[in-house]
């Protein structure tokens, strides 16, 4: 008999009520439920996830008991339960429709507790026949940064860290290098002798950030939008290192958004509140564009420098730009195939 099997037998004998009978002989009223429950657990095959879930359930029940005792108002136990269930939910791509609806319900309730108003969280999927593309007119951009402001408000970006998805670079006429560009100008614009070029996530057709993610927390959707599952991200920042365009942002601290300016029209893969230690980035305003609206930056641009549309529609504006204007993309030699073009008048 090997050593391991002998241990197993020993444990079984110890936890088997029959074998324990003699132990309880001097106390006939003794409680044997622990040993019986343990024997049941031993007989049942559990995988890791189920075991964690069982522990989570037990933990939630325990936490609920403590909180019910401490908080006379109640309601905290439900919140604790939701937080446990949120912690053990699946990757968004693996969820069934029911599971998606459940997590949305939980998130809505938790967000209502946190920020004093219930958000509307969509799970609108990509529509067939749609591939989003973007074009940026460097002749038209004047560097006003209305797009940046609109993006911050639309996407509930961290005001504490002054996070922004869009960066507008001020570049001297005749120069093309972004290394010598000024990304933090603050003076009257447009400055004489300069042009402006905006960057954000380019939603590459071959996104290097997706390839390097060790946990599958980021992927490219059918309509070409590269998204992040904020609840699956482990914050390793491989994607940030892999992106050649500095398109991704990391939450070094818990994002701060004033409750009165939270945009409550949200998407699970879009502008719903993020937490400390996860990546985020431009999603082409997935909560707007999947409803047919234009991204916030396009709508806010006062000079019409931004063009957005469906690349698969031959009559779309983006296709007109690609067919009729001189276009270029950044770092085309890398083969990332960004769906974000620059053009001039």
């Amino acid at each position: 008999m090997t050593k391991s099997s002998s241990i197993k037998t020993w444990v079984r004998r110890l936890l088997n009520p029959e074998a324990l009978r003699y132990l309880a002989a001097d106390d006939p009223e003794g409680d044997r439920s622990f040993a019986e429950g343990a024997a049941q657990v031993m007989d049942k095959q559990l995988d890791r996830r189920q075991a964690l879930k069982a522990i989570a359930g037990a933990g939630a029940a325990g936490a609920a008991l403590v909180q019910a005792a401490c908080a006379p108002l109640g309601g905290r136990s439900e919140e604790a339960q939701h937080r446990w269930e949120e912690f053990f939910k699946k990757n968004y791509r693996l969820m069934t429709e029911t599971e998606r609806a459940e997590t949305v319900t939980r998130l809505t309730k938790l967000a209502a507790d946190d920020r004093g108003g219930a958000p509307h969280i969509q799970t609108t999927p990509a529509q067939p026949g749609v591939l989003f593309g973007y074009a940026f007119n460097i002749s038209k951009c004047k560097g006003y940064q209305d797009c940046v402001k609109a993006c911050i408000h639309e996407n509930n970006l961290d005001r504490g860290e002054n996070m922004q998805y869009i960066r507008i670079f001020e570049i001297e006429n005749g120069q093309q290098s972004l290394a010598s560009a000024n990304g933090s100008y603050y003076h009257e614009v447009p400055a004489d002798g300069h042009y402006y070029l905006g960057t954000q996530c380019f939603h590459c057709e071959n996104p290097p950030c997706v390839d390097v993610c060790p946990v599958g927390a980021t992927w490219k959707e059918e309509d070409g939008i590269v998204v992040v599952d904020y609840d699956w991200c482990i914050g390793c920042r491989y994607c940030q290192a892999a992106c050649p365009y500095f398109g991704r942002r990391f939450n070094w601290s818990a994002p701060q958004v004033p409750p009165e300016s939270v945009n409550r029209e949200q998407h699970y893969l879009g502008n719903r509140p993020r937490k400390k230690g996860v990546m985020e980035k431009c999603t082409f305003c997935i909560q707007r564009t999947r409803q047919g609206k234009l991204p916030a930056c396009v709508e806010a641009c006062p000079t019409g420098a931004r063009v957005f549309g469906n690349l698969l529609d031959p009559n779309s504006e983006i296709r007109y730009v690609l067919a009729n204007k001189k276009v270029f993309r950044l770092k085309e030699e890398l083969g990332t195939e960004p769906k974000f073009w620059y053009f001039t008048d």
Partner: protein, 228 residues
């Protein structure tokens, strides 16, 4: 040799090694496609007429009129935001019953500064006719034109912009990327009396440069050695 199961164990070890090396071989020729996907190929493979998301509710409230291009056989398939309903000082007949002498200093229109291609080329009367056409604009020929279709007037000189505006590379679409295409009129973005965008302060102060990494330039090895 003394262990009875030794030979058996040896055989198992060999099998495991074979399996491992097989796995490594398979791992090297992974499932990656040999060439990365090109957007152009994706477009070519999947393009076609698309029924996008329903956006009727987004464009329903917009005051719009179908764009017109005089002399064309086919009607335009897009709409332009109307202008007339936004104007406060038009039509001119609200105040002016008699023809106005444009040479006099404009009292009620003191705030209008004409900075459009220079006064030798553009004057009030280039676009306005305070005599015969008080409720409309005029073409260079003197014919009347509704203010809703001001793009036709601008396009007399700015024909390149008009062409791009019609296609979608100039100007701005309103409300929705799918469904009915409604675009801003020329005057929706430009002040026709001072069409250039003014200098102003940015509405947002970007993060300081030391916190945002600049996009690093890729240096090719051969170029690097040439510099050295």
């Amino acid at each position: 040799m003394a262990f009875p199961g030794n030979r058996d164990r040896h055989g198992r070890h060999l099998t495991r090694m074979c399996l491992l090396s097989l796995l490594m071989l398979v791992g090297c020729s992974g499932p990656k496609p040999p060439h990365p996907a090109r957007v152009a190929d994706t477009i070519a493979a999947h393009e076609g007429p698309v029924q996008g998301p329903d956006t009727a509710h987004l464009t329903a409230e917009l005051n719009r009129v179908r764009a017109e291009f005089p002399g064309r056989l086919q009607a335009a398939d897009f709409f332009v935001e109307t202008r007339v309903n936004q104007l406060k000082q038009a039509p001119c007949a609200q105040c002016h019953a008699a023809p106005v002498d444009l040479d006099k200093a404009p009292k009620a229109h003191w705030d209008i500064q004409l900075e459009h291609a220079g006064n030798h080329m553009m004057q009030c009367s280039t676009c306005h006719d305070p005599g015969d056409h008080k409720s409309s604009l005029i073409f260079l020929s003197g014919a009347a034109l509704s203010m809703d279709h001001v793009y036709q007037q601008c396009g007399q000189c700015h024909f390149e912009q008009l062409r791009d505006w019609e296609g979608g590379a100039h100007g701005q679409r309103v409300a929705a990327w799918s469904g009915e295409r409604v675009v801003r009129n020329c005057t929706g973005c430009h002040d026709p009396h001072q069409p250039a965008f003014p200098k102003r302060w940015p509405v947002h102060a970007a993060r300081p440069a030391d916190e945002t990494l600049p996009i690093q330039e890729i240096s090719h090895p051969e170029e690097g050695s040439a510099h050295d």
